[in-house]
Symmetry: C2
Subunit: 328 residues, 2 copies
């Protein structure tokens, strides 16, 4: 049976609230640059009140990846929890507008749609504070088995491991995916997130994940090494495919037979790195759906990551299908 | 007594929902490029569903002007109606974050915070469809006499003439302003808006407005002439000061003693003209608060309009105080 979807993304459905800050602000707030911190509704409100003017855009790690895939013309689907509020409508609109299928029902009560305060420093690095809100109510019941079975790859974000019920949703999705003979994929999301759930992530990667995404810090944290090449070798042993992003330098890709380094092209205009990893994953997964080699997949990933960092926000703001056709 | 505020803006409090469309889309939807159309909640929802991914930013004509003034360090205040919903919080945050005082209470029931679908075509022109929502509940009661009396200039947007109760709020503000010996200012807002309320606007301008803002189309529509110089002469007769924006060409400014043309500098990067008129008004009014000549005020207006059109959204995204200091 042909799959209805190339990729199903499962993640925390979040609207980003972006603004520019300077390094002193991060220091005064005790925030670690480049990290994602979970905050309560009150902490989010208190931080928001200190921020300058913001813009709001849909975000969420797997949501960004799915939006990127849909923008390239891949058949993409999404599972995540919003509330029936204004930011929820924004999230639902944007992911659907890119052509992705998003049929998770909205919560009719409980916490508001999640939002993430994204603080962009002059070096274009982003530091995030997330109020999970409605995301914490993503449960097993939201994992529609038919959708999972109908998707060639189920892509999960590590952040899902933070809200407890989502963990069970995550496990259910993995089981259905493998029972159907499909592939599981995981993004490690954030070094602190790996730290928070270190043992569980290591078990997941060794036993349940076919395609692994990580950046340099995350993979080193996972394998407890300072040597990214060593970490890459371990990822190669644990997973069928792994892609490790190296920021401006490009990525390391592994399959059972090879480990390779794929250099990225120069980016002319660096504005905001939010979504770089997510769009890398979109490009890489898109390559896989087109039966490209991991090296070619890495090149498409680099290309998309290089695009998204030239503007504020983590969603593509151009037609990625044309962009990929013109550049690959 | 010294005024507490240099400028009080009174307007429709709106969150903008911005996206890129092509000219065919406008034609298919029967929209006139560059105009603002009022739509029902259902019409807004139906149009939104046809749009690609959007970003949300605070907007509203007078709101943009006030945000610009506050960004330059002017003492600015704002009156407008939002609901106690998520977009309302966004609006309140953003205008306060720029340093403006916004103390109008939020509606606890009734329509949602207003939003405006801003369709930006490849020529950077914007076409707007506005759902007024909570704005229609701005009434006389929201016009705090103390704030009006304490403001050197009360700046009103013509759009306020659309929701009926706001008209009375508008009239109340004018009376208090003049009774206190302060100045009234009006932006004609939109040629169709002038068309909708032609006689009333002409009466207003002749009898109640000290400082008039209009673009070329609006002023021609107001005075029923095809000759902008002729229209400028009439504005000079009717108002103490008038500023007529001419798009990329600059502006015509008038005072009782002079009519002059102020050329604008070249803009390198034209992205989105949303807010050009509003930021022109901010710059011009800022000049007036600093006792500049109308020619100098026009130059600051041109400068700010030239800045806001280099990015998506109608609010300043740089520190305008520094920008003006460096460029004037």
């Amino acid at each position: 049976m042909t799959n209805r979807f190339d990729v199903l993304g499962i993640g925390n459905a979040i609207v980003d609230v972006l603004t520019n800050v300077n390094d002193d602000f991060l220091r005064d707030e005790g925030l670690t640059k480049g990290s994602m911190t979970l905050v309560s509704e009150e902490e989010a409100a208190s931080l928001y009140a200190k921020l300058g003017q913001c813009i709001e855009c849909s975000g969420g790690s797997a949501g960004n990846t799915v939006a990127g895939l849909a923008s390239m013309g891949a058949r993409a689907s999404y599972i995540g929890k919003i509330r029936d509020d204004q930011l929820g409508s924004v999230f639902r609109h944007d992911i659907s507008a890119q052509g992705a299928t998003f049929s998770t029902s909205s919560a009719l009560e409980g916490p508001a749609t999640a939002h993430c305060l994204v603080l962009v420093t002059p070096d274009a690095e982003r530091t995030m504070c997330t109020y999970l809100g409605a995301c914490v109510n993503l449960t097993e019941d939201d994992i529609d088995p038919d959708t999972v079975r109908a998707s060639g790859i189920s892509y999960l974000e590590g952040y899902l491991w933070d809200p407890e019920p989502a963990k069970n949703a995550f496990r259910k999705a993995i089981k259905i995916t493998h029972d159907a003979g499909n592939k599981t994929s995981l993004s490690l999301s954030d070094a602190f997130c790996v730290g928070r759930h270190h043992k569980e992530f290591l078990n997941l990667v060794k036993n349940d994940i076919d395609i692994l995404f990580a950046n340099e810090e995350e993979i080193k944290m996972l394998y407890g090494t300072d040597d990214v090449s060593e970490a890459a070798k371990q990822a190669q042993e644990d997973c069928e495919i792994a892609a490790i992003t190296l920021g401006a330098k490009g990525c390391i890709v592994t399959s059972k037979d090879e480990i390779g380094y794929v250099q990225s092209r120069n980016v002319n205009k660096l504005i905001d790195t939010t979504g770089a990893g997510d769009l890398f994953a979109a490009g890489f997964l898109y390559g896989l759906t087109k039966d490209k080699s991991v090296g070619e997949c890495g090149a498409i990933g680099n290309l998309l990551a290089g695009e998204v960092i030239t503007h504020m926000g983590a969603r593509p703001d151009i037609d990625l299908k044309k962009f990929v056709e013109q550049n690959v």
